[in-house]
Subunit: 310 residues, 2 copies
């Protein structure tokens, strides 16, 4: 080591890669969540996995470049992707939102392309890790994260650890049934929360183009939209009561596009969930909006890298 | 150390104390689950906590004596008791099955009386630990235990650890709702599994004295009992599907008096649960009867001591 060659610090930069149904994202952040660079591109899901992963890797290289780093400065890479997937083997089994993604060994492909240790997690679990580390779940050991958008995903932190279950699929809380004789769900189940309260299903039940339109109609006082919305928040409250009884979390963090409805969602959901959950469990839980917004994907993938590398 | 005073091996005997609604039990077992002595007595719940704990301690001393040990040979003491309770502070907050048990510092009382480190856990969590260590959950890291008797209790092992949650009440799976507009539950919730499928509620729904009578009537082909039972197993199957989706267990272990119904319960519950759970999660789970029977209480309390002391 000479003055011209200062000692290189252990790398504290992580690359997060996020594969969504509509867009790809790459970001560089430090372990403390400070974002150094980010880049986004449309998913073009119809291209299939090979082309998408090639573009994702290119996006990752762009982010590394923008952060004025080289790939050797990257401590680890995290990938968030819709499930089901096998986080241990690093294989996407069947990404429901992206046709053609069956048994895709994405971790091996990204490690081959970028030469850094890479870890895979489903996007809702990644979001849970990010909210726990950097967002609305900071400072607690027991937290449930629900993301309510096209579908409903979730991740559970219990005793400070992400729950994985027997094959990495724990926390599929969009598929907790709220009505054993209810609507059929795309997952094959009956009466799943998602079959009522995902954006797609809210819109379908109201006969409107989107959940945003339903919320707008509720604000205008339209009767049919209001009835659909009332049922939606009741079911969401009931499901959260079950989730509170199952996991005894300190916080339930709600994110995803549907939660942009704000108070018209949080106020009744809090009231119903806390009324129905067991008193000793209701007493210690807060139901809060997610804090990371558009950065959930990138910070989620980064949090996966930070968590798994530790 | 002389030949007359052989070195004393580190103690490998544990005392388990179990407080049920109808009986008290004490047992001595080794960490591997080998039972050395056991003793039982009626609860006499109306006597209240002080008298019950005095008799429980006496029962514990009897078991120590029967195992030809002294209290100094006991490595640790575990207590299983109906919740809600605070396992960290060792206090029973409000034992639903035993009137007058409010804020009872049972761990301090037993430590004072017997002079050995003592740990408290709710009886369903204790049962989960026992089935995991000694029974139908051996060898797997992810297991859900449900005990279906007067009420429905549960305990969850995830990644090899018992889930506690924010204040020790995780795993209240009898209070996962299966029908958001269903029967009111004694917990204050609506449509809880327990409100349908506990022994008490099965009997009440069928208008018969006990769940055992309902099962006998089902075997005789009586129509009303059969209709009630069909709904019961459907709801139990639906709830287990939700539980599988939430925890992704390798095994779901069902114990408690109602499961003595045998195939007339397990066959339809397995079919319905596996049909409704998400395919990737259904593929890896077995639904099995508990293995420990009458010894669940004692071995549960012993397992608490073994687990918490480790």
């Amino acid at each position: 080591v000479t003055p011209d060659n200062p000692p290189v610090a252990a790398p504290d930069a992580f690359l997060g890669l996020d594969i969504g149904g509509t867009k790809l994202a790459a970001g560089i952040a430090r372990a403390d969540g400070k974002v150094l660079a980010e880049a986004r591109a449309p998913s073009r899901a119809l291209e299939g996995p090979d082309s998408m992963i090639r573009r994702l890797v290119a996006l990752g290289r762009d982010a590394v470049w923008d952060a004025r780093l080289g790939t050797t400065d990257i401590a680890a890479i995290g990938i968030g992707c819709g499930g089901p997937l096998d986080p241990e083997r690093g294989v996407v089994l069947d990404a429901l939102n992206n046709p053609g993604w069956v048994d895709v060994p994405i971790v091996a492909m990204v490690e081959e392309a970028l030469g850094r240790p890479t870890f895979l997690e489903n996007d809702a679990n990644a979001g849970a890790l990010a909210e726990h580390r950097y967002g609305a779940g900071r400072g607690v050991d027991d937290m449930v994260y629900l993301t309510i958008s096209t579908g409903i995903g979730a991740g559970v932190i219990s005793g400070g650890r992400l729950l994985h279950g027997a094959n990495g699929n724990a926390g599929e809380l969009g598929h907790v049934s709220v009505d054993h004789r209810g609507r059929r769900c795309r997952c094959g189940g009956i009466g799943c929360l998602e079959a009522y309260a995902s954006g797609t299903n809210i819109a379908e039940r109201a006969g409107m183009p989107s959940a945003e339109d339903v919320v707008a109609a509720v604000r205008r006082g339209e009767r049919h939209a209001t009835a659909v919305w009332s049922e939606t928040v009741e079911l969401l409250g009931a499901a959260i009561a079950s989730i509170v009884n199952a996991f005894n979390p300190r916080r339930v963090v709600l994110g995803g596009g549907v939660t942009r409805a704000g108070d018209v969602l949080f106020e009744p959901v809090r009231r119903i969930a806390l009324q129905r959950a067991m008193p000793q469990l209701a007493a210690v839980v807060d139901i809060l909006p997610a804090a990371l917004g558009e950065r959930t994907g990138i910070l989620g993938a980064v949090a996966v890298a930070v968590d798994r590398r530790a």
